[in-house]
């Protein structure tokens, strides 16, 4: 097959509001090959879910979508305009964050899974129910026969998410979009669901977009990772490359700011000052510049474009971390005590265990 399974080019999604136009997604491009997983990582408001919803044709009609998306050579947005309903839910499906709100509380689980088989594949009621039972077994639900006639409220959170995954897999999709599939679940369940998605993807040769706010979730699970901030792609790279040689100061800051399970208690965290920007007005320059340790004057006026940093590694930054330019920019900011955006550099002082400062003779 020529070309990738999914090619997204310069996707822009805007919403008109009373305060002005919200640019939720502002020029995002990526390719996804058949059978591969791309992780999209970002905080709330970064545009990761809007990107997924745009692809799934789930945005309200007042959303202004620009750019192109091609699935196996077919124009996704043209199909949306032509109301081709047998594409979504069949070839491209989605799993959402909260399993309770994505299930119908007054319909039996079996019927809900069978529904897409009956609607899209025109299967008979009985045949669809049998297949629904098979699907429940595949997603690791014990006693699938009994579960078919239960309602969502009779299942635990983890079981519900398994049901939602079974629904998404019913028509054997070629691409599954999982939008924060485990955020609402407990840690012990989270790992099971992520492993399940990975196993199913491998077994079916399906491609996956895994959306999360947690860099730890994509590590080891995605072939490629795209980091988003304020509607922009900040960095994109094969997963191992990203963690080994991250270039974008935002990616670096995200990783440093998260407490790690293996560091001793009271290790001071490196904060990211401020908060994510409102995406209402067109920002001049880099959206992360006001919070960035590396920012130089150029960052405030010129929006950096994506540049290559090795095979498949793209980064949008004027002073990328780990490069000579970046080192000089950060050293310059440290010497001046403030960044080009006026950020006080002292707060980034090296990690000092707070225990040493506060508790003379405290327990070691």
């Amino acid at each position: 097959m020529a070309g990738p399974l999914l090619r997204v080019q310069d996707l822009r999604v805007g919403f008109r509001t009373e305060q002005g136009k919200v640019r939720a997604v502002d020029g995002v491009s990526f390719d996804l090959e058949e059978g591969q997983t791309i992780g999209i990582v970002g905080e709330s408001g970064s545009g990761k879910s809007v990107t997924a919803k745009a692809l799934m044709n789930l945005l309200p009609s007042y959303a202004q979508i620009q750019g192109a998306a091609h699935f196996d050579g077919r124009d996704v947005f043209a199909m949306a305009a032509n109301r081709e309903k047998h594409f979504w839910g069949v070839e491209m499906t989605m799993v959402f964050q909260d399993p309770m709100t994505s299930l119908n509380p007054v319909k039996k689980v079996g019927e809900q899974i069978a529904e897409s088989l009956r609607v899209h594949l025109k299967k008979g009621r009985r045949e669809a129910l049998v297949e629904a039972g098979d699907l429940l077994e595949q997603v690791g639900i014990p006693e699938p026969g009994k579960r078919l006639s239960q309602y969502p409220h009779e299942l635990s959170g983890g079981m519900r998410q398994r049901v939602v995954i079974a629904m998404a897999l019913a028509c054997s999709p070629r691409l599954l979009i999982a939008d924060e599939p485990t955020t609402a679940l407990d840690v012990t369940v989270q790992k099971h669901i992520l492993d399940l998605l990975d196993d199913l993807r491998r077994a079916r040769g399906m491609a996956m977009i895994l959306i999360t706010h947690d860099l730890g979730v994509v590590r080891g699970r995605a072939d490629e990772v795209m980091v988003m901030y304020a509607g922009h792609t900040m960095e994109e790279a094969p997963t191992d490359t990203l963690f080994a040689e991250m270039r974008h100061p935002y990616t670096e800051a995200l990783l440093e700011t998260i407490p790690r399970i293996d560091t001793p208690s009271h290790t001071r965290l490196v904060p990211i000052p401020g908060r994510p920007p409102e995406v209402i007005d067109v920002l001049e320059g880099c959206p992360f510049a006001p919070r960035c340790r590396y920012s130089v004057t150029e960052c405030l006026t010129d929006r950096p474009g994506l540049t290559s940093h090795g095979a498949g590694h793209l980064c949008a930054c004027h002073a990328p971390a780990g490069t000579q330019v970046g080192k000089e920019a950060r050293a310059g900011n440290e010497a001046a005590g403030t960044t080009a955006a006026g950020l006080d550099m002292e707060q980034f002082a090296r990690r000092v265990p707070i225990a040493d400062l506060n508790r003379p003779g405290g327990e070691g």
């Binding site: 905080e43 079981m159 840690v187 730890g216 790690r260 208690s265």
Partner: protein, 334 residues
């Protein structure tokens, strides 16, 4: 009911809070009872941070609320400053007596926006405790105190004091909640999932702020979270809970570097980036948490435990000392 034991309680004279045999049960209709917290004991020394970690339904939030008597526990004792002349037994107090003790304990919650009254100004929200105990929010002395505490949490009082909560982001609202809790100079601050609703880039700011506030105001923290990495970062001592019981208690670094209870090991192996002290394969257990209406006999974790034997079904394990300041309730600890 079989006890979880009290071997881990300490006799040091700087214990500020001691919870003994706390039981919290709720009626569930049809004469059934939800056993939310069953015989939990712990203590906290002055200036310490106690982390309580566990999954949803383990009783960690119920425990926190029972400490402040909201609502009062079914049985058990909660003692503030035990053995000193300021000793107060919260579970024995009611009415005015309880009201007098309340300022010594404050609480912050998970959702910073819904825990602030949207119709009131920040100055009045923060000053409310002072207004009750010391004077109205317009008083010069109260104003000064509010300004000081707002500055301490990184909110500029000249800009922010007359605004309402909707004008602030989640992180800023959590700062205001912390200011409201700290303004009465409490001895103990109970934090119930304080960073779970925040973006990762803001989370570290609040965690660092809590450490600063702790040293500035001499606070003792009870820090509740489901996030193992966050709990390790802030805690001196950690309590792991499962289905209303304590599994393991001890020095934070000891618990994370040599977890002894099978459930603690499962938790550490299930983290997105598992701790190096456990094998990732240990996370393979069943999904289903038993109902707290009919908890399993003996050890409550036995239905999901890889090491469970017949003994676990009949005899409830009691907390026993494994190493210095490291206690575990398991018949077969690692």
């Amino acid at each position: 009911m079989a006890g979880s034991g009290t071997a881990h309680l300490r006799t040091a004279d700087d214990v500020v809070l001691r919870v003994e045999n706390l039981v919290m049960e709720f009626p569930a209709g049809r004469h059934q009872v939800v056993h939310a917290v069953s015989d939990v004991s712990f203590d906290i020394r002055r200036g310490e941070t106690l982390g309580i970690v566990g999954e949803s339904g383990c009783g960690k939030s119920t425990t926190a609320r029972a400490i402040v008597q909201l609502p009062a526990p079914t049985s058990g004792r909660v003692l503030l400053d035990p053995g000193t002349d300021r000793e107060a037994e919260l579970t024995a107090l009611e009415g005015e007596g309880l009201r007098q003790v309340r300022p010594r304990l404050q609480m912050i919650f998970q959702d910073p926006i819904s825990s602030l009254n949207p119709r009131r100004r920040v100055r009045d929200i923060v000053a409310e405790g002072l207004a009750i105990w010391e004077g109205e929010s317009g008083d010069e002395q109260v104003r000064a105190k509010v300004d000081e505490v707002l500055e301490a949490v990184g909110i500029d009082p000249t800009v922010a004091a007359n605004r309402r909560p909707h004008e602030f982001s989640g992180g800023q609202c959590q700062r205001i909640s912390i200011a409201r809790a700290a303004v009465l100079k409490p001895e103990i601050l109970i934090c119930d999932e304080p960073v779970s609703a925040l973006d990762v880039s803001v989370q570290a700011q609040i965690l660092n702020l809590l450490e600063e506030m702790k040293s500035r105001y001499g606070l003792t923290l009870v820090f509740i979270s489901h996030d193992l990495s966050v709990v390790r970062n802030v805690s001196d001592r950690v309590t792991v809970m499962y289905l209303g019981k304590v599994c393991e208690v001890g020095n934070a670094d000891a618990i994370y570097s040599s977890p002894a209870h099978p459930y603690t090991r499962v938790l550490l192996a299930s983290a997105p980036e598992p701790a190096s002290t456990v094998d990732e394969s240990e996370s393979a257990i069943g999904d289903e948490i038993p109902s707290p209406i009919h908890p399993p006999s003996g050890c409550r974790f036995r239905t999901r435990c890889p090491r469970a034997t017949d003994r676990c079904a009949t005899e409830e394990p009691v907390l026993q000392e494994l190493a210095e300041d490291h206690f575990v309730a398991c018949h077969f600890p690692s």
